[in-house]
């Protein structure tokens, strides 16, 4: 039972509490109502999105399964996201070490250098990349240029996440390992990496999600092969059908599944680390 509930409260405090609860519910409604209708319309047996709903069917899900262009786009997106996540995680994790432990000369300058790519609006990175790659170097735009673009704003996320984990890292453990004769490489492999693994995983996961979802930088750097957001965008711009809603619903389910799996994995691991069976959490 909530402590606040058991305390004797004045009538006014009670009213305030209800007002805040109602407000909280309203905000949650604001967040979820659009998603509710997005999903609802995916089951609509009609060629146009919206009311009136003549009936319900799964035909748009069938359409998704039959849509080759869409599946190509999904494959491209997954390929890009996987490569981006691997590269960003390696590069970002490496960079976090000197950032936290290197006694850098100009910490604030370096901090700006690393965080600017995620603080500037994406469109600026997009136009800068297209100016440089296509305008100046005459590189042919392809999935490779998309990967290069995504790398710029996913790596900083990995750096920030891993660095914040390293900040609170107990150095005594490393010294103990060194005292016991472990080489720096061995200490890294058996002491440091296992301890910061959750942060590295979180960084990789965030890179995947951001890359899969990225629109504006991709919009500028993409060649003839489409990623999923670009494909969906062209669908929305030119003749939208509930098929887009079906894709959206499938994506939502996939994301929730991934999150649940990640959360479950984390819960199991932390329960195991604490040396007790998993409790209801």
């Amino acid at each position: 039972m909530d402590l606040l509930e058991t305390m004797p409260v004045s009538k006014r405090a009670k009213q305030t509490r209800w007002a805040f609860r109602a407000f909280g519910c309203a905000v949650m409604g604001f967040l979820y109502i659009p998603i509710f209708f997005l999903v609802l319309f995916s089951f609509e047996d009609s060629k146009t999105v919206g009311f009136p709903i003549p009936g319900f069917s799964l035909r748009w899900y069938q359409a998704v399964l039959d849509n080759q262009a869409l599946q190509d786009a999904v494959r491209n997106s997954l390929l890009v996201a996987a490569l981006v996540a691997i590269l960003a995680t390696i590069i970002g994790t490496m960079a976090a070490f000197p950032l936290v432990r290197g006694n850098l000369r100009f910490p604030s300058v370096i901090r700006i250098f690393v965080t600017l790519p995620i603080m500037l609006p994406g469109i600026l990175l997009g136009v800068a990349l297209v100016t440089f790659l296509a305008g100046q170097l005459h590189v042919r735009l392809s999935l490779l240029t998309v990967i290069a673009g995504h790398l710029v704003f996913t790596t900083p996320y990995v750096v920030l996440i891993v660095a914040s984990r390293l900040q609170g890292f107990p150095r005594a453990l490393e010294w103990a390992a060194a005292d016991l004769g472990a080489s720096p490489a061995r200490t890294l492999r058996h002491i440091i990496l296992p301890l910061i693994a959750p942060a590295i995983m979180a960084g990789a996961l965030i890179s995947v999600t951001i890359s899969l979802d990225e629109f504006i930088v991709t919009f500028f750097t993409i060649g003839s092969q489409l990623t999923l957001p670009i494909y969906i965008y062209t669908q929305i711009k030119f003749g939208v059908t509930p098929e887009v809603n079906a894709v959206a619903t499938l994506l939502l389910v996939a994301t929730l599944g991934l999150l649940a799996a990640g959360g479950l994995l984390g819960a199991v691991r932390s329960a195991r680390a604490a040396g007790r069976p998993k409790e209801e959490s």
Partner: protein, 304 residues
């Protein structure tokens, strides 16, 4: 506890420069890949864009005639200036609205929701934000559009007789959608600082005779100021570069500065587009430098 060598204590000789350099390199080399990536794919492209913004286009080719005309054109064209002003105004209004929602919401979470549930509610706020950005903008067409839920609701209650087109493809639609998109950032930033605040301080101030508004202004507000500023930056800055929302729900009325930039790049007028992009980048960088002391980027991006 000290280790004494057989020969007694020795004064170490001054470390030679090359040894010191080698030690620095051992520590610093892992920073090389990110330096390469960010220099090649971020700093140099931005630099090239600055250069391009001083060049001109002739017959769809960019030529290196140094000129200020791209900037002069921007500052003398009423449409461009108005769009820029409108974008800044929109960003400011969205920021205010997102904060007006986020502050009471974070307060509600911290004060009226048990610690056990706070994580769940917070997760529920972030989940929509993990789903496709593009599709969440699109979702609003299903609410505001001619065949959307709002029209259906108004028809059912008899408030209107025919579906209205007035709810979408205008500035208000862009505003609502942007508040929706950026509210989670603001909520997260404000929550992070409010969560750390010890409300006993607030009570102590009142015990010592401060009125509620005085306690709020002098005790609570200074403590959560970094969170508020972080929230402002995380809403204001991305809205300046917002393209999807104005394009999908804004119609011709709702265009923002990004639509202008993209039109220039579509027309291969790189220098003109680059000039506007540089102006926005400069604006953002000035903001970031001014507020850098308060900015808690990790609170928003590194909460995992």
């Amino acid at each position: 506890m000290s280790v004494v060598t057989a020969g007694g204590t020795r004064v170490p000789p001054a470390t030679p420069f090359l040894v010191r350099l080698k030690r620095r390199l051992v520590v610093l080399w892992p920073f090389t890949p990110i330096t390469l990536v960010l220099t090649l794919l971020f700093m140099i492209p931005l630099g090239i864009m600055v250069v391009y913004s001083f060049w001109t286009t002739r017959n769809l080719n960019v030529v290196s005639d140094w000129t200020l005309s791209n900037y002069i054109r921007f500052f003398t064209n009423e449409t461009y200036l108005r769009t820029f002003g409108k974008t800044v105004l929109m960003a400011a209004l969205v920021t205010v609205a997102a904060l007006l929602l986020a502050v009471p919401f974070a307060y509600f979470l911290v004060r009226y929701v048990s610690a056990r549930w706070q994580r769940t509610v917070l997760l529920a706020v972030i989940v929509p934000f993990w789903t496709s950005y593009l599709l969440r903008v699109y979702a609003w067409q299903a609410i505001l559009g001619e065949k959307g839920a709002l029209n259906q609701f108004l028809l059912a209650t008899g408030l209107i007789d025919a579906p209205s087109r007035l709810f979408v493809y205008n500035n208000i639609a862009v505003f609502i959608v942007l508040v929706y998109m950026y509210f989670p950032f603001a909520a997260l930033a404000v929550y992070s600082s409010l969560e750390k605040f010890d409300f006993n301080l607030f009570r102590a101030a009142q015990d010592l005779g401060a009125r509620q508004d005085q306690a709020f202004r002098h005790i609570l507000l200074p403590a959560i100021r970094p969170g508020l500023i972080t929230a402002c930056i995380f809403v204001f800055v991305p809205v300046l570069g917002e393209y999807l929302a104005p394009t999908l729900v804004g119609g011709t009325e709702g265009v923002l500065i990004s639509n202008l930039i993209i039109n220039f790049f579509r027309g291969v007028q790189y220098p003109a587009g680059a000039a506007i992009a540089i102006l926005i980048a400069a604006f953002v960088i000035v903001l970031l430098v001014i507020f850098r002391r308060y900015l808690q980027i990790e609170d928003v991006v590194a909460r995992g």
